[in-house]
Amino acid sequence: MDLIDFARGPALQWSLALFIFGIAWRLIGVLLLHRKVDHSLPRHQDTTMGGVRLIFSRMWPKPEFRQSNAVHYALSYTFHIGLFIVIFLFRPHMLFIRDLTGLSWPTLPSGFVYVIGAMTLATLVAMLVRRMSHPVLKMISNFDDYFSWAVTALPVATGLLAVSHLGARYETLLALHILSVCLLLVWFPFGKLMHATLFVISRGTTGALFERKGAST
């Protein structure tokens, strides 16, 4: 079995299994902790809607905070949108997900996605530099932050190398690309990448709790 077959076969299957295993473990492990009944008289009844509302409204920064975090917002938006385009709007990637889930959707020209990929990588590098130099980020960062950065940047970098045939033969680069995705999948549930699923629960929780009180969200 050569590298590419290993990557497309067992590596992918097992990393996906670990991905699902880890997500289930972490989510269930948290969600099944005890919940106290809140006896206070709610100000608003429809707390679910409050949760849903915050899940979406927190995607957009409050005017109050825009200026002070402008750099952060700019980098985060560029990076997240870039990553979204690269992951979901590149035809081969969509076909991977279609194979897995049966879902399909229109995609963008590959050439355009390459440019976005390069931009995303550049943003990632900028974010790393910022993390290593900003006093707050430098202080609060730990292994998880840097490792999660690496496992996110690797698939982008190897993907770009693969399409540009740089450094090794295409199938080798493709295999490394897939293996780097496997690494990301395996790390995802155990590190902060998990925020991609937790943000719904975390925002939803605050949204619902605060909606009950009518507090600002």
């Binding site: 079995m1 050569d2 590419i4 077959d5 497309r8 076969g9 067992p10 992918l12 299957q13 097992w14 996906l16 299994a17 670990l18 991905f19 699902i20 295993f21 880890g22 997500i23 289930a24 473990w25 972490r26 989510l27 269930i28 492990g29 948290v30 969600l31 099944l32 902790l33 005890h34 035809r91 081969p92 990637h93 076909l95 991977f96 279609r98 194979d99 897995l100 995609t107 963008l108 020209p109 590959s110 050439g111 355009f112 996605v113 045939h165 033969r169 295409y170 199938e171 493709l174």
Partner: protein, 352 residues
């Protein structure tokens, strides 16, 4: 005849000096050699004694030989190869039975240490190798015996080169490629199912001309023919970059000749000359005819998932069971973790 040079033998077959020069020029071009190499080829062939080629067919479908004989009109390289040099090929030769085997033994004896051994088909190792035998001699035995006196071995087709279809899962005969058995001879792989005819004859001619194997890639293939992927040389490549894909074999995209990636084309990971040399004397190649590349010149091409599954899709085992088990197991471990935390919290509260 054995004492004559290649040039003399060609001239005896009505090839003029000009025709010969032309052959040298086109061979150099085909092998991606500099134009100055043409003169060297001419000079070598003018002096080289007639080479000897022994072709052994093992566990194979004769597709490679069929491909070889589908060269429309005789070319000089095919003349050099089969008319001048080929001393044994049990499908093509007139002799049969013990006469044929005698021809092989005689050829081996006459040019011991100097002949080129061409192999098509893989070698079964199961049942002491007797899944396939010729004249009572197992393929394994015949290969070892014949390879011992060969100057070099050229594997024609994916079966001889990488095991091919006989070796595909579940490989009932225990088939292996030549390289699994012979370790001490220069080996050139000319994979493909079948290989392109002109590639087969050119590689043999190259060896006969230069007396050495051409530059090979990490899978033992001549870089001149297997240096680029089908995808990189594909005339449909611009559609890939534009994001225009055929999504079924009879949709608008298919009619417009768009990229076949989504229909499972293995062009991006397949190294071969189909997109440039093409087939049937330059008429077409699979992608041009509307079907994706199946990657037949790559090892294990038969076992790399469906031909119609896009390259980016995974090659799954029992996916649903594995992932389902993972989800259930994860949930169970999570539940245990939560329960143990609750119990610990209970204890902590009581402690106070």
């Amino acid at each position: 005849m054995r004492d004559k040079t290649v040039l003399e033998l060609l001239q005896a077959r009505g090839v003029s000096r000009r025709g010969f020069l032309k052959f040298c020029a086109t061979t150099a071009s085909l092998l991606a050699l500099p134009p100055s190499a043409a003169a060297a080829i001419a000079e070598t062939l003018g002096k080289t004694r007639r080479p000897s080629v022994i072709w052994l067919s093992f566990q194979e479908c004769t597709g490679c030989t069929e491909s070889l004989t589908r060269a429309h009109l005789p070319t000089i390289e095919s003349l050099i190869f089969d008319a001048i040099s080929l001393d044994y090929h049990h499908t093509l030769q007139a002799a049969s039975g013990s006469a044929a085997e005698a021809a092989r033994e005689e050829a081996m004896k006459a040019a011991w240490g100097q002949y080129v051994l061409v192999v098509d088909g893989s070698i079964p190792l199961g049942e002491q190798g007797y899944y396939s035998a010729i004249a009572g001699v197992s393929n394994l035995e015949m290969l070892k015996e014949t390879a011992a006196g060969a100057a070099a071995i050229i594997n024609m087709g994916t079966c001889a080169a990488y095991g091919g279809i006989p070796q595909a899962n579940p490989n009932p005969t225990g088939a292996v490629p030549v390289s699994a058995i012979i370790k001490d001879k220069p080996i050139v792989n000319v994979p493909g199912c079948p290989p392109i005819p002109v590639v087969m004859t050119s590689v043999v001619a190259h060896y006969l001309t230069f007396g050495a194997v051409p530059e090979l890639d990490h899978l033992g293939r001549p870089k001149s023919f297997y240096g680029d992927t089908i995808h990189d040389r594909c005339y449909r490549r611009p559609f890939y970059d534009q994001g225009k894909f055929a999504t079924s074999f009879d949709d608008e995209g298919a009619r417009n000749g768009w990229c076949l990636y989504q229909l499972g084309c293995k062009g991006p990971t397949t190294y071969n000359a189909c997109a440039t040399v093409k087939w049937n004397d330059g008429t077409s190649f699979p992608i041009q005819s509307g079907h994706g590349c199946i990657g037949c010149s790559e090892p294990n091409f038969w076992d790399k998932g469906s031909f119609y599954q896009p390259l980016s899709a995974g090659i799954w085992g029992d996916r649903q069971a594995t992932l389902g088990t993972a989800a259930v197991a994860g949930a169970a471990v999570g539940a245990v973790a939560a329960a143990s935390t609750r119990i610990r919290q209970q204890h902590a509260s009581e402690e106070k």
